[in-house]
């Protein structure tokens, strides 16, 4: 699960880069960059959950 989260994070990065190229107007560009950051945040959250689950399995 941790690796899945870490693999999702680059997708958010590429969304942010795509925003620069695809949207010259400031508002949609900013919105798309924020979406990229949100995807990264979700990936990080999944990675953190994976870390916590691994800890639980280790103790079990």
């Amino acid at each position: 699960m941790k690796y899945a989260g870490l693999l999702v994070m680059p997708a958010g990065f590429f969304l942010s880069i795509a925003a620069l190229i695809l949207f010259p107007a400031p508002a949609p560009r900013a919105a798309f960059v924020l979406c990229g950051l949100a995807v990264e945040g979700m990936g990080l959250a999944v990675a953190v959950r994976g870390h916590m689950a691994a800890r639980g399995e280790h103790h079990a």
């Binding site: 958010g12 990065f13 942010s16 925003a19 400031p26 900013a30 990229g36 990936g43 870390h51």
Partner: protein, 430 residues
């Protein structure tokens, strides 16, 4: 192309950079104080070794990729074309500091700044891995950071890479701004610390099967608080030198940068003092030290750009957030971070970079800052984790259980930092 540097600016920046190692000394002392007494000598020796390894590897390999040396100053390097824009992604200078003597004075100073920066980045995961990370592993981690990860980030942000050119290519303010290294040093170091913690795991007994996490307080609050005072001197030098080198600030703007640094740290420590006083009934020395440091880290991004009132606000937010995030990491997220690098350096740096975008007068600056943050989080962090996970297979990060039990000093160095002290039984091992 950056404007030419005057003799006065050169002399001032050089003098400041000679003071900047005090920030490294401060962080090393804080790391040692926040660890256990039986690992104190290993912690400080490790800091010295990491500084040395990072400097040597950066000189041999890393400096070539930052692109500061002759023929590359001003943003040349490896580029590709995408959507009609040039994306400069890697510096291209001679290895082993070739041509350093013939480089312009500004490039030489920039290189000196980067030497100090890479040493500090290496120290941050070392502090987070305290009491269980092997000395060899700390050096290997520093070598990986100095050889590739830091140079890549430094080139993108400081020496004309694609993040620095966001203003030119996409009309996003002045491009990604990071005068004092909030991203290049602190966010990168904090994320590296998270990767090391995840790979090495928590200290034995930190998270028991049942109940809350075991408190493992630092062994010397005097080291920690004195480290904060040392760090202030280094940070003032660091932020002012960075404003000259990376923001091209005129001499008249430099006192404000120093004042903003002090104000941010002051507001942060007062806020942390108040929060810990409110939550625990008494102020907590180590959390207040973390708050002070978080204020300094946040100022690294914005001290050269914002007004003093904004610097106060930035510090205030950093100071309130720090103790809460320390608790969140330890109690809710099972992250064993003795030095608080993730909270102080990663979160503090992140907040400083966002604040720079909010308070900078140029339109589009906030988006430029967010793109930079997205790059560090979405590209550099997974890259660092992957590299460290690979490295862990060849150079195991973690000491064996017996080493952890007797302490890293005896295990790795054969002698303790305080040989005349009585060693007490450790109740945290269950």
């Amino acid at each position: 192309m950056s404007p030419a540097m005057t003799d006065a600016s050169f002399a001032l920046t050089l003098a400041l950079l000679l003071l900047a190692p005090l920030a490294i000394a401060g962080v090393a002392l804080i790391n040692t104080g926040l660890g256990r007494s039986r690992s104190a000598a290993q912690s400080l020796l490790g800091s010295l070794a990491i500084l040395a390894v990072a400097a040597i590897v950066f000189a041999i390999l890393g400096a070539a990729f930052t692109g500061n040396l002759p023929g590359t100053a001003g943003g040349a390097g490896h580029s590709f074309q995408l959507a009609g824009k040039s994306w400069n992604w890697l510096g291209a200078a001679p290895f082993l500091l070739g041509g350093l003597g013939a480089a312009p004075a500004q490039s030489q100073l920039a290189l000196l700044f980067e030497f100090l920066a890479v040493a500090l980045v290496g120290l941050l995961p070392w502090g987070s891995g305290a009491d269980r990370l092997r000395l060899t592993a700390g050096c290997a981690i520093a070598a990986v950071i100095a050889a590739f990860v830091f140079p890549l980030t430094a080139h993108w942000i400081w020496t004309g890479g694609w993040l620095a050119q966001l203003g030119l290519n996409f009309s996003l303010g002045q491009g990604f701004l990071d005068g004092g290294g909030a991203a290049t040093v602190h966010l990168l170091g904090g994320l590296s610390a998270l990767a090391v913690i995840w790979i090495a795991g928590p200290r034995r007994g930190k998270f028991p099967k049942e109940g809350l996490a075991t408190a493992m307080p630092g062994h010397n609050a005097v080291y920690v608080v004195f480290g904060c005072l040392l760090a202030l001197v280094g940070w003032l030098a660091w932020n002012v030198a960075g404003a000259v080198l990376w923001l091209h600030a005129p001499l008249a703007a430099l006192p404000v940068t120093a004042i903003n640094t002090l104000l941010s740290a002051s507001a942060a420590v007062v806020a942390t003092f108040a929060v810990t006083r409110f939550r625990f009934g008494k102020p907590d020395a180590s959390l207040c030290a973390n708050g002070w440091l978080a204020g300094l880290v946040a100022s690294s991004a914005c001290a050269g750009i914002v007004t003093p009132a904004a610097a106060l606000f930035v510090g205030l937010v950093a100071g309130v957030a720090t103790p809460l995030l320390v608790e969140l990491c330890e109690l809710a997220l099972s992250i064993d971070d003795p030095s608080g690098a993730i909270t102080v350096h990663a979160a503090g740096g992140l907040w400083g970079l966002i604040a720079t975008g909010i308070f900078a007068p140029q339109p589009g600056q906030l988006v430029a800052q967010l793109v930079g943050i997205a790059t560090l989080l979405g590209f550099v962090f997974p890259l660092v984790y992957g590299l460290f996970a690979l490295l862990n297979r060849f150079v195991p990060f973690r000491a064996d259980a017996d080493g952890e039990r007797i302490g890293m000093d005896l295990h790795e160095l054969g002698g303790g930092a305080y040989p005349e002290f009585v060693i007490h039984r450790d109740d945290s091992y269950r």
